[in-house]
Amino acid sequence: MIFWTTLLILHGLLALALLGAITHQTVALWWPVRAPAGSFVARFRAVPGVSYVGAIILLYVLTFVLGAWIYTQYRVTARLSLEQLRFFKTVGIFELKEHLATIGLILLPAYWAYWRQPLSQEYANARRSVTLLLALVVWSNFLIGHIVNNARGMGS
């Protein structure tokens, strides 16, 4: 059990780092600063988005692989308990998490291609869209992970 708990904590920490990176990049892309950054929010918006691409891809893949591994344990332990307790909405929302994670993963090649240097104006709109969608996927999965863990996760 310690092994799976450690993996789950690691998965959560990677997800947290990913959440920070993708949020930073998305805000900088969709709401860029026009004047020199002064406040905390302005500095948050002023980061160069392109420098996050490699880290985001690596973090997403690592988080995904760990999640896919932990999923095998969830399937034979937590999920059975959730079904016995008739927590079907929690089971359903976790099913959605697996689909969202897959959709996020398949966006990565396009995400990488549209962020390649030098940034092409031809892909500007696609770059904004795919980054926002990836951010929404990461946020959704982070929140769903918390909900499911609260229902029948670590230590329960």
């Binding site: 896919a68 999923y71 095998t72 344990q73 399937r75 034979v76 999920r79 059975l80 008739r86 079907f88 909405k89 089971v91 359903g92 929302i93 099913e95 959605l96 697996e98 689909h99 969202l100 897959t102 959709i103 398949i106 966006l107 090649p109 396009a110 990488w112 291609a113 549209y114 390649r116 031809e122 892909y123 709109n125 696609a126 869209s129 795919v130 926002l132 969608l133």
Partner: protein, 173 residues
């Protein structure tokens, strides 16, 4: 066109095709492999539960990956206009099918006489194919000349919508 220029197009078709195939795989359960988490066994194609539950998710991803790579490879040697038309036609077909099938089931549920034919998916599919063909024919030619990279979010968002709809029974219990 260099190999480097083809990367965005390949990535686009890969993402779009993967999303579409993945939805089909989850709907009709088409895994290339089945994982049995209790025993740790991996079996080829779809297998029934032996000891404990089975997991098809890895298999769906693998099926979709193989299909998407094949389609993206084919698309990378085709003219952009053909790829654009194929994706547009596929999206129109999916949207029209969803509209026709929803209307058919709505009418079937409320009809005072038995209209069993409205339940046939082939009927909605036929109507959707015809509609998509007509729309493609009347759509402005310049829309079909170049590949539109916005498909990379339209199709996955549509796929998420369909996948969420499939999960609705969990939320009705």
């Amino acid at each position: 066109m260099t190999a480097s220029d083809k990367i965005p197009g390949f990535a686009l078709v890969f993402g779009v095709a993967y999303a579409a195939i993945y939805v089909v795989c989850t709907e009709i359960n088409l895994p290339l492999i089945t994982y049995h988490p209790v025993t740790g066994e991996i079996g080829l194609l779809r297998q029934l539960a032996k000891t404990g539950p089975v997991m098809y998710w890895y298999g769906w991803m693998l099926t979709s990956f193989v299909g998407a790579v094949a389609l993206a490879a084919v698309a990378s040697v085709l003219p952009q206009s053909w790829v654009q038309r194929a994706i547009a036609f596929g999206c129109l077909l999916a949207a029209a099918y969803w509209i026709f099938y929803t209307i058919s089931l709505f009418v079937y549920d409320r009809a005072t006489v038995e209209l069993e034919f409205l339940q046939f998916r082939s009927l909605s599919l036929g109507a959707a194919t015809l509609t998509a063909t007509i729309v493609m024919f009347i759509a402005p030619r310049h829309w079909q000349k170049r590949l539109w990279y916005g498909w990379i979010w339209i199709v996955p968002v549509g796929a998420i919508g369909v996948l969420a709809y499939y999960l609705a029974p969990y939320f009705r219990q």
